[in-house]
């Protein structure tokens, strides 16, 4: 148990975040809410504000002395908050606070990424991915100094700026889009701040920033090293919009500082966007008139054909499959929903190695951004978003397939445990499922879900169980983000196969590689918030 002395203050929280004292910062976060009665919303804003100056990087490509380049990771602190805020309503009550405590736990570990990858600052990337302590050990060989605390002040690569105001909204939005695409971070950020000040422009601003993020996507990750963004521009834009809606746009300045400049950060990847734009111009000349929903949703054979193209075809197969569906009259969300469920077969049937989930589930989260953008906004380019999401999914599948399969990570078939699962009464199954997700036993977890889905129409408690179990794992904002994406897409999906989203979700959360084997953060949450199941 972490002992905390003295009064919990916002100032203390800021210091602990900056100094990469993540255990202490999380304790202070919990104490601010439970002992000082500081509203959770305000405390989340405090944490985002404290981290904001330190999450920028000069570029997401670092030029090495040799002339070669390496990728620099994207800030994940804000993605954790976005997922956590979305899950608060899903889990409800004290349980809904757990994802936020997990997001807080990660924040101090995710600062100063540029310095982390060159082993000059502690945090998740330095400690885990780069294994910096092996390269630059401290005096005590039993202490990993890259776990924190920091030995220097984190760097600020982009100073805060003033809003840019004046001119028509059309002109300012166009200038902002241009500035993001051209990498003029100061101009893009200033224009965003100016537009965000005016409530009457905010819906158009949300649409514009999501569009800017969505169109910036690599054409392939195969053999590209770090020259990709695996959807992070779109994921960040979505985080900005959702968290600003939660905090209130007038209280979201530091959130904007966290996200907007990075959207203009290099590299800018618009090759795939241009390819899809060309295809749509030629094949779908009336694309702007295509409805979001049609009265002709996909048939079962069409879902099978799309699955075949996504999982086993190449990029041109995917283009052809999606074009054919649009040309025969399907709507944007009809096809988007279908892409989401067809992709699940990859998670359900094919994926085995815990490390291999990372890129495909980024594609799933990206597709969720595309779908939510289409649901919430009206934009003549939304047809293209479906192509982008489907191509990204297909590319990650092909990328994984570029490596020989390791038989040592083969999974037992879920069907082997179906009878065992069927022997558990439905009203007693969910606690068993929680145990097996926590044990990271994918075959049994998946069999339990298969059995539950067959025996009851109940879905809310099932999703709640998987989500809550998943949020026990620390150091990884991807968990909250993927939970939020899966739950949202399940709720909105209108295909006959929407339960496959739950099957894919539980496989992911019971198999995906974990960044820490312990549940220290969860224990801290229990200590402060005393959820009912811990009593």
């Amino acid at each position: 148990m972490i002992s905390a002395q003295g009064t919990a203050t916002v100032e203390r929280l800021r210091d602990e975040i900056r100094e990469v004292r993540y255990r202490e910062a999380t304790t202070t976060f919990c104490r601010l809410v439970t002992e000082e009665d500081r509203p959770l919303r305000a405390t989340i804003r405090d944490a985002i504000s404290a981290a904001a100056p330190y999450v920028q990087v000069p570029s997401h490509m670092m030029r090495l002395p040799s002339g070669e380049m390496r990728g620099v990771n994207y800030d994940h602190t804000i993605l954790g908050w976005r997922g956590a805020i979305a899950l608060m309503g899903e889990l409800g009550g004290a349980r809904g606070v757990l994802p936020n405590v997990q997001a807080m736990w990660y924040v101090p570990q995710g600062l100063n990424v540029w310095e982390q990858v060159v082993c000059e600052f502690p945090g998740h990337y330095a400690r885990d991915g780069e294994q910096c302590n092996r390269k630059f050990p401290g005096p005590d060989e039993h202490v990993n100094r890259f776990d924190g605390p920091a030995w220097n002040v984190p760097k600020i690569y982009f100073q805060d700026h003033d809003p840019i105001e004046g001119g028509s909204v059309e002109d300012r939005l166009a200038r902002m889009n241009w500035a993001i695409a051209e990498g003029d971070k100061a101009e893009a950020y200033g224009l965003f701040l100016g537009l965000a000040k005016q409530p009457e422009y905010r819906e158009r601003l949300k649409d514009a920033i999501l569009f800017a993020g969505i169109i910036d996507l690599q054409d392939t990750i195969i053999n590209r090293g770090g020259y990709q963004n695996i959807g992070h521009k779109a994921l960040r834009a979505r985080a900005l919009v959702d968290i600003a809606d939660y905090l209130g746009w007038d209280d979201a300045h530091e959130l904007m500082y966290t996200v907007v400049p990075d959207l203009g950060c290099s590299p800018h990847l618009h090759g795939l966007w241009n390819e899809i734009s060309n295809i749509c111009r030629i094949e779908l000349p009336d694309q702007a008139a295509i409805p979001k929903r049609s009265d002709q949703p996909l048939t079962e054979p069409e879902l099978d054909a799309l699955t075949e193209a996504l999982l086993w075809g190449g990029p041109f197969d995917v283009n052809a499959a999606v074009v054919a569906l649009f040309r025969r009259g399907a709507g944007i969300l009809d096809i988007g929903d279908a892409v989401m469920v067809c992709f699940q077969r990859y998670l359900i049937d094919v994926l085995e190695h815990p490390n291999a989930f990372l890129h495909p589930t980024h594609a799933l989260d990206y597709m969720n951004v595309v779908q939510s953008w289409t649901r919430r906004h009206d934009n003549p380019h939304q047809v293209k978003g479906v192509f982008l999401g489907a191509r990204f999914m297909n590319d990650t599948i092909r990328s994984n397939a570029s490596f020989p399969r390791d038989p040592n990570f083969a999974l037992e078939p879920r069907q082997a445990y179906h009878g065992w699962a069927d022997d558990i009464a439905v009203d007693r199954l969910l606690p068993v499922l929680k145990r097996y997700v926590l044990a990271q036993d994918a075959p049994r977890s998946c069999a339990l879900v298969d059995s539950y889905l067959e025996r009851t129409p109940e879905r809310h408690d099932l999703l709640d169980t998987i989500t809550y179990a998943a949020c026990h794992w620390q150091n990884d904002p991807h968990v909250m983000r993927n939970c939020a994406s899966s739950l949202e897409e399940f709720r909105h999906n209108r295909t006959s196969r929407r339960d496959d989203i739950i099957r894919g979700f539980v496989k992911h959360q019971s198999r995906y590689v974990k960044r820490a084997p312990t549940h220290d953060c969860y224990q801290l949450y229990v200590q402060h918030f005393q959820p009912a199941e811990a009593a």
Partner: protein, 124 residues
């Protein structure tokens, strides 16, 4: 009621394809059985992402491993495993596919009923 013409034609095409595939398997068997360890190492090296002609090529690694375990002797398989295990982490998946434990498992799974001409190889 007689079978529709499409069904009969489809089955005839399937049989012709099976014959062609059987011939190619026979040829592959001769090639694998006669290959040196060095030649087999070179073939396996073609499955890494930087040399692969694409995901569809790499996906055929497992069918190849099945055939190696079916048609190569234990000494050859041990030499292949040793070669790739010595190369460390990046080749771990390949080394594991060539391990005797995996080989024993595969050989057991590949057993077919007596009427079958070939082991139960994966097609793709």
């Amino acid at each position: 009621m007689s079978a529709p013409i499409e069904l009969t034609e489809a089955w005839r095409l399937r049989n012709a394809t099976a014959t062609a595939l059987a011939l190619s398997e026979q040829q592959m068997r001769h090639a694998v059985s006669g290959a040196s360890v060095e030649q087999l190492v070179a073939l396996i090296e073609a499955f890494v992402p930087t040399r692969s002609t694409g995901p569809d090529w790499t996906r055929s690694f497992e069918p190849l491993v099945e055939r190696l375990w079916a048609w190569c002797d234990d000494a050859t398989m041990a030499a292949l495993a040793e070669t790739f295990r010595a190369r460390g982490m990046p080749w771990m998946a390949v080394a594991n596919a060539l391990s005797p434990e995996h080989g024993a498992r595969l050989r057991a799974e590949l057993r077919q009923p007596s009427w079958a001409r070939f082991p139960a190889f994966a097609m793709a």
